[in-house]
């Protein structure tokens, strides 16, 4: 039951993307190769943003709207299924 309170004080309501599309912060972006993935889910558990989503089959997909490009997923992947590439200049 999500309800809004009728009082003017600093009460905030949950929202994904509260700071906007933080994917715009990226300098480097992760590139995921599903064929190399061994479904260890280290990238999923270590992503600080929760931008690496776990699929039903335990593979992963990366939400590029919010991925901040920290590179931890690539760093913790033991089979190099994720590598980093520089974002194209806009």
């Amino acid at each position: 039951m999500r309800k809004k309170y009728n009082v003017v004080t600093s009460i905030s309501y949950p929202k994904e993307g509260a700071m906007g599309k933080t994917g715009s912060w990226r300098v480097f972006k992760p590139i995921f190769s599903k064929d190399k993935c061994v479904k260890c889910l280290r990238c999923w558990i270590f992503c600080p943003e929760g931008a690496v989503k776990k699929n039903k089959d335990s593979s992963v997909s990366i939400d590029m709207d919010y991925c901040k490009g920290c590179g931890i997923c690539a760093n913790v992947c033991n089979v190099k299924a994720i590598i980093l590439e520089r974002e194209e200049q806009q």
């Binding site: 039951m1 999500r2 309170y5 003017v8 004080t9 600093s10 009460i11 309501y13």
Partner: protein
Amino acid sequence: MCKRMQCKSNNLGKGGTTMKNIIINTGNYIAAKAAVMAKPDVVAAYPITPQTTLVEGIANYVASGEYKGEYICVESEHSAMSACIGASATGVRTFTATSSHGLLLMHEMLHWAALARLPVIMCNINRVVGPGWNIWADENDSISQRDTGWIQFYCSSNQEIFDTVIQAFKLGEHKDVALPVMINYNAFILSHTSMPAEIPSQKEIDDYLGKYQPLWRIDPENPVTFGNIIMPADYEKVRRAMQDAHENAKKLIPEIAQDWKKKFGRFNGDLIEKYRCEDAETILLAMGAIAAESKVSIDNLRKDGYKIGLARIRTFRPFPAEDIVKLAKKTELIVIDRNISCGYEGALFTEVKSALYNKSDAKVSGFIAGLGGKDVTYNHIEDMCKKAIKGKLKETVWYGFEEVKK
């Protein structure tokens, strides 16, 4: 009609009784009784002289089983207010008490409670602020908290303490207010002095207060974040809403006072308690114990032919500016402050004058008296009034010091 009164020293009769219940006890124990009867779910407090007997009073009620809520013996006053805020945020009634340095230590969290619109109810025993250490009556402690957004009452009798504590819950919890309320009374003169107080039955209090309906709450079934980053324009709206709540309180306090009079037969004054002001040419404004003493002075001065009345400022925040303008219609005013804002004047003196600005050209005289717990008797007050009547004073006088050259 003859009213039968039954005096009991401690315990109250359980259940309703058609006989009035009068207890004779100190301000602190009576405040503790009121607090416990309001049934706060959480009390979090830290001892400081001269509030100690209040928290000890509550501890006694815990031991006797009369208080069934959670009593947290926190490790500092800052934590006391923080715990009350945490509890109140979950949607329960809360109460605490402190004095002087304890109040000052809570200062940050007083702002927090008010900005959070949480009706934490607190008794503050007005005590001198050190250094040096001094436990007697002085109002600098609570006056220096006037900007925190709390509603502030100043009581002048133990009966009024009881009534005001209960009314404070009603006022603070009102949906148009939702603000914390501070009930102030002077160290030792009230906190440790026994006076009779008539106590309604528990059922009458339960019916009067009803169940607390919070405006917001921390609740796993409706997750919200309270108190994250807020940008300037949004913050200003929070402040404006608090100001509006104070304006609402200004209207509600007289209503609550009249309602209390109807239900319980007692009137302690609403924003201001007026005594013999009807045909007064001079009105004395004071708070707390000094104001209580002043009634005797007023009677004596009247006997000497002075047309003088007393306006006891019971509510300091919200400040009863409009009522003060009404008082000044055909009178001059004398203000006694038991506080000093060093670098300027006593707070009540300044605020009375600012209320009158552009609305009245009444003469206002100011006295500082009773700082550091110095005794202020009705003789002193009579003397002050005689010195100030007919606009003789040209500036604030610190009563008891050498006369300032006029």
